[in-house]
Amino acid sequence: MIANPEPSTLPGMTTVIIFTMLKLSGLSIRLGGRLVVDDVNLTVEPGQTVGLIGGSGSGKTLTALGVLGLLPGAAHAEGHIGLGGIELCGAPERRLRQVRGCRIGFVGQDALAALNPLATIGRHLCIPLRRHRGLNRREAARAAGDLLERVGLAADTVRAYPAQLSGGQRQRAAIALAVAGRPGLLIADEPTSALDPPNQAGILDLLRALPPAADGRPTALLLISHDLAVVARLCDRIAVMHDGCLVEQGDTAELIAAPSHPYTRALVASARALAA
């Protein structure tokens, strides 16, 4: 099933049709009968960085899991999730498995728990490298080393187990894993909140300079965070979620200059009050 393509006008050209990277329309998620994400409409264009901000329980993480088709058992999504023209909502697991790690990468919060303690970093990287990029064992090993250097780790980290790395190193490895399949979109869910301030800055810089996607374009980023300052620093656009609803979205500078929804206003005021 093909989602509606977005007509888009480029200056000095005729009208061409370009697929948006990710288009959520009317996405709702029910968790055990309770509506926890309510009619979310959001688009991410290729190469764009979009921040999804909200407090705990606002539904931002569930939205991300919904896109990946990784909702917990009791949750159910309805609406449309278009990924470059493919409908993901209700897609079979087999289809989703081809999308995850290949078209969409995912980085979670706590990299210690997010990596299998019994598998080396290299073993982790082999999952997308061999499955999505079709590399053989030796090629995958070499690609893994290159990738690790790209995210600021030594190439021999392939042989390390997660427990042998520091928090910042683990998060870098997790990002390498997420982009190993050269996805067009990376979803990062609170990637810095388990880290120290100095490490946080490093990870944010890394997210700003992600390796390009398979088609050579920059990787789009959907950054999920509770911290307005972090999101504002990294993102072109910001979407604000509150109580399961997407209450406001817009260009970062405009949204911070003139927040319209009361929750956004409170967020901006709070961030300003605590701005050092």
Binding site: L68, E93, Q98, R100, A113, P117, L118, H132, P162, A163
Partner: protein, 587 residues
């Protein structure tokens, strides 16, 4: 939460084993009776031994008069391999044990192999289901197998396979065919238990965040299932000692039933004859084996984890709460209550020698026993005896468990680990050897074992509370020990532990029945279920149906005992079973 390092586990293991060894060494004097008298009684059954005979026995067996000296002497000789001589036939204990050890090793080795195969085979579907984002369904089969007591399974196998189908010999030890049924009856329940542990670990592992990461990276189902299973096996390996010691415990009943000249059977006969040197030797042998296997488990765990480091030893996250089918345990409970209710109205005492071993009929729905009593009535009255005793034992062990668990302290952790692994049969053997068999002795043995898991559970809950923010906040509010206990510890601990204790009643009843079956519990004419089954087994070839009553009752109890694995108590026993894999982590 404090946890044990591998070194401390080893230390605890050896310390407890040495403690047990000293206790074993002092056995002859623990009876509060002159060993020389016991010897004469054991040999001749004489009531009033004359002094000359006593002195002769003393010099003959080289018995010291003083307990401390005796225990010391026994221990120092045990180190050199001299375990003394049997009080009954004067044979060297070490020789008897060496002969029997080969038989036992073959039997328990085969059983362990069967258990490993059954366990992993049953756990594979769970891993496959979890990798496919489905809830594992295999749990119930594993729980049912795990709940089957060895002696019940053995009785069923003998009845069906050996007597009815004549596919294997009923008893004896003359060749490979004689190994099949005993190894199966030992291995299958252990395999079920192993599968349960693995399934719980797989479920817990499936809830770990890395599974999400693997899925998000596009991992295939087979790849993920393998990783899940590998992690689960790593987590369960330290528990193999407990499982293996369980096999050794089950071997007592199985060897007895199949008349296999192994260690278990020798220990049982020695205990019934109050032949203490032989009991001492058997217990020592089993303790040492247990410690060795436990050490092997710890070492294997370290090797498996390797450089993955300490975090890999972390206990997996607690699986999501699941709503399990209540239908099966509920049906079992209802059936049991109905049978007992109906049976209680009938006369259990009336002996009709003209109706011995009768088949089921309108008058006697479950037939009659070897002296013509109504089996249904016997079953019901036995239920009151078996389950009632279990209830009393449970209340006692609940109180002791709560008290011991709330006292805290890490020193006891290792001890509790070891005691937790001690099969009740061994305790029953020792107590019967000391005090003579009987229902009270069986209850005492059951109680000595039953308080340990409750104490462990209490302690782990109490540790959780003590580590909680609100407990610390209360301390900083100036709360004293009394208030901390009353307002914060007890309310958090009591509910789950009482539920846990309730859920263990069927298991305790099975323990008591098991001891009764071996003749270590209630006497042979008692309607107590184990004793009743033992009596019926004697007449197996003539009246195979007579075992049905007790087997069905014990089977239903088994289903109930398995309920905590799937019912509202998923959490505590699951965590308890997995406790052993919490060795190397945060403090």
């Amino acid at each position: 939460m404090r946890a044990l390092t591998a070194t401390r586990r080893w230390a605890a293991l050896t310390a407890t084993a040495s403690g047990l060894a000293v206790l074993v060494a002092a056995l002859p004097w623990l009876r509060g009776d002159d060993p020389a008298r016991s010897v004469l009684r054991a040999r001749l059954g004489e009531r009033e031994p004359d002094p000359a005979a006593l002195a002769a026995v003393r010099s003959d067996l080289d018995l010291p008069a003083d307990p401390l000296q005796g225990a010391g002497q026994w221990l120092s000789r045990a180190v050199t391999g001299d375990l003394g001589r049997s009080w009954v036939d004067g044979a060297s204990v070490a020789d008897t044990l060496t002969n029997a050890a080969g038989v036992s090793a073959l039997l328990s080795g085969t059983a362990a192999t069967i258990a490993a195969i059954v366990g992993v085979l049953l756990a594979v579907p769970a891993a496959w289901a979890a990798a496919g984002r489905r809830r594992p369904r295999a749990g119930y089969a594993a729980a049912a197998l795990a709940a089957l007591p060895e002696f019940v399974l053995a009785a069923v196998l003998i009845t069906v396979v050996a007597v009815n189908w004549r596919l294997a010999p009923t008893a004896g030890w003359f060749g490979p065919t004689h190994l099949v049924l005993p190894a199966l009856s030992l291995g299958i329940p252990t395999g079920g238990l192993l599968a349960r542990l693995l399934t719980t670990a797989v479920e817990a592992t499936a809830a770990e965040p890395w599974v999400h990461t693997w899925r998000a990276a596009g991992s295939g189902r087979r790849e993920l299932a393998t990783a899940l299973l590998r992690r689960a096996i790593t987590a369960v390996v330290p528990q193999v000692a407990v499982l293996f010691v369980g096999v050794l415990g089950g071997a007592v009943a199985v060897e007895q039933l199949f008349a296999i000249p192994g260690l278990g059977r020798i220990a049982l006969h020695a205990s019934l004859a109050q032949d203490l040197p032989l009991v001492q030797g058997c217990v020592l042998f089993l303790v040492v084996t247990g410690v060795l296997v436990g050490g092997l488990g710890i070492t294997a765990h370290r090797l498996l984890i390797g450089p993955a480091g300490q975090a890999a030893g972390l206990i997996p996250a607690v699986p999501e709460h699941r709503h399990s089918p209540y239908a099966v345990p509920l049906t079992a409970a209802l059936l049991l209550t109905t049978v007992v209710g109906v049976g209680l109205l009938r006369d259990a005492e009336r002996v009709r020698l003209d109706q011995r071993l009768g088949s089921p009929s309108w008058d006697h729905p479950l037939g009659t026993d070897p002296v013509g009593r109504d089996v249904l009535a016997q079953l019901a009255h036995g239920a009151i005896l078996t389950v009632g005793t279990a209830a009393v034992v449970t209340v006692l062990s609940l109180l002791v468990g709560l008290a011991a668990g709330l006292r805290g302290g890490t020193a006891r952790t290792g001890t509790a680990d070891v005691l937790n692994a001690l099969p009740p049969v061994f305790v029953g053997l020792v107590i019967a050897a000391l005090a003579g068999p009987g229902l009270t002795a069986a209850a005492l043995a059951a109680a000595l074992v039953a308080w340990v898991p409750l104490a462990v559970h209490t302690r782990s809950l109490a540790e959780e509370v003590r580590a909680s923010g609100y407990y610390r906040a209360a301390e900083l509010c100036g709360a004293g020990p009394g208030r901390l206990l009353r307002r914060h510890l007890l309310p958090a601990v009591a509910g789950p532990v009482v539920l846990h204790a309730l859920a263990r009643v069927p298991a305790t009843a099975l323990t008591i029945a098991g001891l009764g079956f071996l003749g270590l519990g209630a006497g042979h004419d008692s309607p107590e279920w184990g004793a009743q089954l033992a009596a019926a087994v004697t007449y197996l070839e003539r009246a195979p149906l007579a075992v049905l009553g007790p087997v069905a009752g014990l089977g239903l109890l088994g289903v109930l005992a398995a309920t905590p694995g799937s019912g509202l108590l998923t959490r505590p026993p699951g965590r308890l079973l997995l406790r052993g894999l919490r060795p190397l982590h945060q403090r």
